[in-house]
Symmetry: C2
Subunit: 437 residues, 2 copies
């Protein structure tokens, strides 16, 4: 299979006007946003071109572990007794252990080209921090990681690996930033607070903030997954009838699914799987919202639970973000992609079934896709269909053994309940919405 | 690169009479050994044929992750400022996380073909147990793992992953076997005791004991590593001047190095690296010894520290075995391979240097090879040479974060001292040696 030479921009193939970003209320009086993001990335963010060439410096680093494997889960099929054909795209076999390295490398390249010497990032479960730490090493940049405290405490090894890679790791909320001190009461932290802290870190010269998942360019950089998978399936003389991927802020789902939305003879259903504990697509509102707790950044129109929503503690820390990417949101709003939400109990059950069958331990985030595929296979069997189902194994779970230990010990047996009241309470704090045009 | 269709038997190319195994003292009076090992494996153990065909059932499982990557460590070279060219063969990207799956799959296949329904194994650091648990799942066998207690306590996640794969994990010494009860006082355990326990487990019908490393057939099965690496280097138009690999009981070192001992136009130096805390080649004796504490198995002539040698506690649990494979020992005795021993302090230093440069975390066992390669590169630079150095990255260190944590926290800064008296005291218990012929 030939390596993709360009990223795929789904907006080129869709008749879709994205609602524009709006300045945050704090800046309505004429204050200016700092130019944080390099022009190269802004151009990608705004582009309607179908193909964005991958720079050689990025390609050559991708080539160290890409193309990633596409494997047929024959043992899982046998364990399920399904007639569906299950394929998974495995992104765990790279230095950082997840798909997030795809955009981390691209961003480190562009930020360095724009003069940055140090990148500041926020991380939930730690995958993004590990990815940026890895990418920073590749390009000779310093790296500071604000990690949600509750994740850091349950996954101390994530700190160790980031420090081994040369990064500085700080538990969020910290007392080193104004944003951290403001939310000191929420000791366990959220990704939203960590984001605000990392952005504040850019006050130091040479430091730039590097966003992990929701930006259109992060989605774009991850399309190498779907492009490869599409061609790998073709080598199996297969077409994906259904693509299933876990949904956090969106880069994993979009990276795998978007290339399957290209016009073609047979349609592909693209199913995003979110945790019942943080159900932004299935239970959130399509509205303008803050992307983080600092409330300093442009408002984006997205499916959101409100930037003040604090999801219940759960093992898939990477899926706790309150909203999802504006492009994914727009596609969902138009009915072009689907969404389901599952409880972590059932997600773990499928993850262990998968690990036993295939010998690979999924990250709890990735396990959502496993469960989604298992459910789709069962549905197909009931309906007498035998589709090819492609799902995303976006990262390994080798740092999540404590989570699996609790599951094996029967401590993940209760459903997490998010009430309508919880959601309404958070949505009440949405910023004022613009008048309809 | 074409996948190897056969394993390579180094004995075919060497004029080397291996000293024969001898019955253990307990059986001198005519008692019979149980036929534990299937005839298929015994044949491989005794064979002098150069090539042993890999069965299709094994090949097709290898194909799920082999060929493993051969990567040039360009960033490490830059960090060292060396003119040597450093290549590493990476075996960590498979379901079990180390090279040990190469023989685990082959053995599970042969044991199942011989009628086994359950495999019992002993494991030090946990890699062997994880590998056999993975292989047992592939072939529908049950699996029971006796794990050295001190490793189990420092690496609880190893238990979790083995249990996820469906294995039963027991801390050794346990109170479920006679051997375990006999050595109950040595609470922290040794691989030797765990071996004795796993062998005893075979009293249950259908259960066979499955040895991980020192047997000639385990060495053989691992030669896929060296065969692939040889051809991968040829694709780079390279020849390995030096091959470096960590040495425990021998399968990793032999698997990578032996294919480079094939007759050819240019010689390859094969350097094994052992921990200073368990220096069987560099400070042991070439003598007949027990392979485990049960003293029930045939005596083998090997470099040994004595089966009662208890190495000081250290992080590379997989290298704590008291002896090394009889084939490796015979080659070393004849000067055909080399050996060095290093302190874990310096090994960790090179491991962190490697991780920062290459973005891959080595298992502490594999880190011995990293350090060995770093030392060889420095020597070559001093001598004005620029060799191609191939080293074995036999497994990932993602379950060894606690060890790296201690290193980063400055707790691995003292040398481990094994005195001549320690070694002499242990060697005093060697069984009576046969008269010279």
């Amino acid at each position: 299979m030939k390596a993709p030479e360009a990223w795929y921009n789904v907006l080129a193939d869709l008749d879709l006007d994205l609602p524009p970003d709006l300045p945050p209320p704090a800046y309505r009086d004429g204050a200016r946003l700092d130019p944080q993001v390099p022009l190269s990335l802004i151009r990608q963010e705004m582009s309607r071109k179908r193909w964005i060439p991958i720079p050689a410096e990025v390609s050559e680093r991708y080539a160290r572990w890409r193309a990633t494997p596409l494997r047929r889960a024959t043992e899982l099929e046998a364990a399920l007794g399904t007639r569906a054909r299950l394929y998974y795209k495995y992104e765990g076999d790279n230095p950082s252990g997840s798909h997030k390295l795809n955009t981390a490398i691209a961003q480190a390249y562009y930020y360095k080209a724009a003069g940055a010497t140090r990148l500041a990032v926020a991380t939930g479960a730690g995958q993004w921090g590990t990815a940026v730490a890895t990418a920073c090493r590749m390009f000779g940049l310093e790296c500071v990681v604000y990690m949600v405290r509750t994740s850091l405490e349950t996954k101390p090894h994530r700190r160790t690996i980031m420090e081994m890679l040369g990064a500085t790791v700080i538990a969020s909320p910290s007392d080193g930033t104004e944003a951290g001190r403001r939310f000191a009461a929420e000791r366990s932290g959220t990704l939203s607070i960590a984001l605000a802290e990392a952005m504040e870190a850019t006050r130091r010269p040479g430091t730039r903030f590097c966003a992990g998942s929701g930006e259109t360019y992060s989605l774009l950089h991850n399309t190498v997954m779907g492009l490869e998978a599409h061609d790998q399936l073709a080598e199996h003389e297969e077409h994906a009838d259904i693509v299933v991927a876990g949904l956090g802020a969106g880069s994993n789902f979009a990276g795998l699914a978007f290339p399957f939305l290209r016009p073609g003879p047979r349609p592909t259903r693209c199913v995003s799987v979110e945790p019942a504990a943080c159900p932004k697509l299935t239970r959130g509102r399509y509205a303008y919202d803050f992307t983080d707790s600092s409330e300093q950044n442009p408002l984006q129109k997205m499916y959101t639970l409100g930037s003040r929503f604090t999801p219940p503690s759960m093992h898939a820390g990477g899926l706790r973000y309150h909203a999802t990417a504006k492009v994914v949101s727009a596609l969902y709003d138009r009915g072009l992609v689907e969404a389901v939400a599952y409880q972590q109990r059932e997600v773990f059950e499928s993850a262990v079934l998968f690990a036993r069958a295939e010998g690979v331990v999924p990250a709890p985030e990735s396990a959502h896709a496993v469960h989604g595929a298992v459910v789709e296979a069962a549905k197909a069997d009931r309906d007498g269909r035998s589709p090819a189902i492609l799902f995303s194994l976006s990262g390994h779970g080798l740092f999540d053994m404590a989570a699996y230990r609790s599951y094996l010990d029967g401590q993940v047996d209760e459903d997490i309940d998010v009430t309508d009241e919880d959601i309404e309470r958070s949505l009440a704090h949405l910023p004022a919405q613009p008048e309809p045009v």
